[in-house]
Amino acid sequence: MTGATLSERRTRSRGGLIGLAIVALAGIVLPFASAGQPFLLMLASHALIAAILALSLDMLTGNTGLLSFGHAAWFGFGSYVAGLLSKSASSDIVVLSLLTLAATVLVAGVIGAVLVRQIGKTFAILTLALSQIMFAIVFVFSDITGGEDGLQGIPMATFLGMQIVSPTTWYAILLVALLLALAGALHLRRSPLGRAWLAIRENGERARFIGMNVNKLKLMSYVISAGLASLAGVLFVLFNGATSPDLLHWLESGKVLMYVVLGGVGTIFGPVIGAVVFTLAEHYVSTFTDAWLIYFGALFVLIVIVAPGGLFGGAARIAERLSARKSGRRTAQ
């Protein structure tokens, strides 16, 4: 019995590695496939940022079950903090990432400490309010933030003193960032902390009965999630050369939530797939019709009804059933 469990655990960790390898391979192949089509590479780069952002929300919703309607708040926060710092402090991508991350941990820690005490709908509504407050702050301090015009003229990012110019380099940086984030998320999922989060998602009261400080664990999940979202914001503002209040808008939050639900809540790879599919589809469908959101709305409803686990969850369920049948046959023999 222990043998079976161990081998199963190995399979699961192998599943994670295989997933990482597939993402890496697909990511590496794309620049070659898109040679001569610079726009495609840029679209793919935006898809990678969206994927990191989606993964960040999954670190919260997928792990502890807390639903955020305002996750773009931290995406936008990261982009503004990094944008402002790049004009005054440093243009180094690593320095900017670390400084922004520190700022996010601090602010999200304080805000999160209040939020995680709320349950269910209250939490979700407050996250929405938070993103709208951040949205409003951009306009209140428009002499610093650029107001409606957004924050323009971000200096070109550097890495170890070298300017990051080529779109391919940018693409590589974003791909590595996504792979690191994925590896981190997979590692956390298997760690005792990850297990504790899942227990809380299942049943907070029982988790308390076995001595878990549920609020503290939820706060950790919230801060980690906000931190990763803000890093996506850092990458966005440096890659894009500008940021705008749109990033903080609830529409953006809704989109991130759609990535996650489309891909499969709590599946780690699912939201990444959801973000990529959504970003590409958004571009191509919107060239055919202005009413593309209607089609996405319909698709969203369809997925929630037909495959509540999202694209990835649905696929995993089919794979599980197939392998169960196979191993069933093996046992029968």
Partner: protein
């Protein structure tokens, strides 16, 4: 001083209604104390009050002299844990994950291990990789008891652990209670089944209208089994 979980004149309230009216009893370590009584008399409330799950209490609960107070998780960390009647497992986690997540090492080298849990509940061993929510009710009950023991509590409270279980499962539950006692854990057992209570119990308290109306030692209970049963039947 001997280890003891002490209820000292405990009263408990939900809103304005008072459920417990000054309840006092001791639970020594390595013993099984049974709370018996009709439904609605305050047995479950006593357990919930211990975990801090009622609106307000008066009186004191102490564990080895230290007051059991504060939020639920803090009480659990002090060493009291509750297995409620509704036996909720972490349904989407596997059996093994359910057990792993509950482990709370004490560093004493005497920790209860997953292997020992499997010895008491062999069925769980067969189901390690299975999602806990897909098991039968009896198997889930075994899992929540095993999960509670893995947290290495000083005191474990079981609320009607055998309700609705088939006899084979009842045996396993009784065995786990014996094992807990052997390990020095103090057990509070709320139980409707007199045979189970008599087979494992060291002390018996009848809870009536939020108070202890009568107490029996094991010998007294065995001698007056019929009286005990009569007391727990609605006339």
């Amino acid at each position: 001083m001997n280890a003891v979980l002490r209820y000292d004149n405990l009263s408990a309230f939900y809103g304005v209604s008072q459920i417990l009216h000054g309840l006092s009893f001791d639970v020594p370590a390595a013993s099984v104390t049974c709370l018996l009584g009709l439904n609605g008399m305050g047995k479950t409330t006593t357990l919930r009050a211990t975990m801090g799950l009622v609106d307000r209490t008066e009186g004191r609960i102490t564990l080895n002299g230290r007051e059991v107070t504060g939020p639920t998780f803090r009480r659990a960390q002090m060493g009291v844990t509750l297995v409620p009647e509704d036996r909720k497992v972490f349904a989407n986690l596997t059996v093994e994950e359910n057990l792993e997540v509950a482990r709370r090492p004490t560093g004493s080298g005497q920790d209860f291990t997953i292997a020992e849990a499997v010895e008491i509940f062999p069925r769980l061993g067969e189901r390690m990789g299975q999602k806990a929510g897909t098991m039968s009710g009896g198997e889930q009950q075994m899992l929540v008891v095993a999960r509670a023991m893995l947290a290495n509590p000083a005191y474990m409270m079981l609320d009607e652990p055998t309700e609705g279980l088939s006899p084979s499962y009842v045996g396993a539950i009784a065995q786990s209670i014996e094992e807990a006692r052997k390990r020095g854990i103090g057990v509070i057992l709320v139980e409707q089944s007199i045979p189970l209570a008599l087979s494992v119990g060291d002390a018996f308290h009848i809870v009536e209208n939020g108070q202890i109306s009568r107490s029996y030692t094991r010998d007294e209970a065995l001698a007056d089994r019929e009286g005990l049963e009569r007391m727990l039947t609605v006339e």
